[in-house]
């Protein structure tokens, strides 16, 4: 027993991460840090300009022109918004649980950013090329409920509490459908690594997984819309009934952290859909001389398209009723995904060309 403690606890891992010296380890860490910043800055800028794009696009859909005062075409609007939110007071309600109230927005932002660690931007550009990439994504999206549930409870306000309970029941219902859809992609690609999933779609437009996994593609994207609590699934915020839902008591920067988390999640869902179902960085014109080159530009174009769908949905559809949301998640999406899982696995086992030969 004592021998065990000496052997195991005092030197738990004799081998080290890197065979090399401390300088190399420090360099490796620094390298990772720089890459993280290179990923985070575009994501945060993307969040800022997604709010601008949202207001502009919804404006045009509703025959308005949207923001156009701050800077040319209103392009400085998100910066003005960010500055304004920074200088607003953060109110901590008297009845609130102070510590949890402060932790909640941070817990909501962290997983939505950390999930970007495994996203491959092209064949080689990925921060953490782990084997369990898809599993990691699913685990991190399941952490997103904590920010909401803690915010709702810590605020000690009825609207916040009702909003967060609604949001959590909705998110977990759609997470199952999302998980099944991910398993479908996994069966088709035979790997959990996101880069390998894209490589498995190599060939042409028809080799991409949107075709053999069509129902899962739709379910995944719609479940993503529901997971991010976006319209038409935004009963957890439901302005007309529970004011703003779980973040009703938050103001200033604390509110904008929630906001950033929501938009970062939208971008994450869009880029994941592009990677898993639409060939990621692969070109739709594979084989054509110049246009057929795989490039990050294709990935960004596909991602923008799905982001546009998010905004389009918001401008088009009225809000679902809560029982309809739960019905759609449990009684429509889950059966569809289970059936299609069986179909895909049969296709893979029988090695049906052109996808699974």
């Amino acid at each position: 027993m004592f021998e065990f403690i000496r052997n195991n606890l005092l030197s738990p891992f004799v081998g080290s991460l890197f065979p090399a010296s401390i300088e190399v380890q420090a360099l490796y860490t620094l390298d990772a840090l720089i890459k993280i910043i290179v990923i985070l800055i575009p994501v945060l800028l993307g969040v800022a300009y997604l709010t601008y794009a949202e207001r502009k696009i919804i404006g045009y859909i509703q025959v308005r022109i949207g923001p156009n005062r701050v800077g040319p075409l209103g392009l400085l609007q998100p910066i003005a918004d960010a500055l304004k939110l920074t200088f607003k007071e953060i109110i901590i309600p008297s009845g609130a649980n102070k510590k949890l109230f402060i932790i909640a927005p941070i817990l909501s932002l962290a997983p939505s950013l950390a999930a970007w660690a495994v996203i491959p931007f092209n064949d080689v550009a990925v921060l953490a090329d782990i084997n369990a990439g898809l599993l990691y994504i699913l685990a991190l999206t399941s952490l997103a409920v904590y920010g909401i549930i803690i915010a709702g409870w810590a605020s000690n306000s009825k609207y916040a509490f009702i909003g967060s309970m609604r949001a959590v029941a909705q998110i977990i219902a759609y997470e199952i459908a999302m998980g099944f859809a991910l398993v479908g992609v996994l069966i088709a690609a035979g790997s959990l690594n996101l880069g390998d999933i894209v490589r498995a779609q190599d060939g042409s437009l028809l080799h991409w997984f949107w075709l053999p996994l069509w129902p899962l593609f739709i379910v995944f994207f719609l479940a993503g819309v529901a997971e991010t609590n976006r319209a038409p699934f935004d009963v957890s915020e439901g302005e007309s009934e529970i004011v703003a839902g779980f973040h009703v008591e938050y103001g200033g920067m604390a509110f904008s952290i929630f906001f950033m988390a929501e938009y970062a999640n939208m971008m994450l869902i869009s880029i994941l859909t592009a990677i898993m179902f639409c060939g990621g960085w692969l070109s739709p014109f594979q084989g054509v001389p110049f246009l057929g080159e795989p490039s990050i530009i294709w990935l960004l174009m596909k991602t923008s398209f799905f982001l546009f769908l998010f905004l389009w949905f918001r401008a088009t559809f009225p809000r679902y009723r809560y029982d309809q949301i739960m019905r759609l998640g449990w009684k429509v999406f889950i059966p569809i995904t289970i059936v299609w899982l069986v179909v895909v696995s049969v296709l893979v086992v029988a090695q049906i060309p052109p996808w699974f030969d």
Binding site: L40, F87, I106, A114, L138, F180, S345
Partner: protein
């Protein structure tokens, strides 16, 4: 293998740190003028009658329990899907039986009305 996870750990800390930093910036740059009315929980113009942390319908718990079960099922599906091409027909049918058993459970909860909301 572990070397691949180090950036993730750093990323987690960076994003937690970013959240904290934004909060601190907002806290110090914004004004701080507390007021008893401002700090009272939001209600539509009247004082709250009761504690906000009310009891909820039992079906919320039921949904959470069912969620755990399906989440476990998904966790079982992951290794199967990765290994599907190497475990052959036996492995394929193993999962089909497993899925079949759970579909029975799913049909049961559907028929019992556990998925109805009102």
């Amino acid at each position: 293998m572990l070397a691949n996870y180090l950036p993730i750990l750093i990323f987690l800390f960076v994003s937690l740190g970013l959240g904290c930093m934004l909060f601190v910036i907002g806290y110090f740059l914004g004004p701080n003028r507390p007021d008893s009315e401002k700090e009272s929980p939001y209600e539509c113009g009247f004082a709250a009658f009761e504690d906000a942390r009310m009891q909820f319908d039992v079906r919320y718990y039921l949904v959470a329990i069912l969620f755990i079960i399906f989440d476990l099922e998904i966790a079982f599906l992951f290794p199967w899907a990765v290994a599907l091409e190497s475990i052959g027909m036996a492995g394929f049918w193993a999962m089909m039986i497993f899925l079949g058993v759970l579909v029975v459970g799913f049909i049961y909860e559907w028929r019992r009305g556990a998925l109805e909301w009102e």
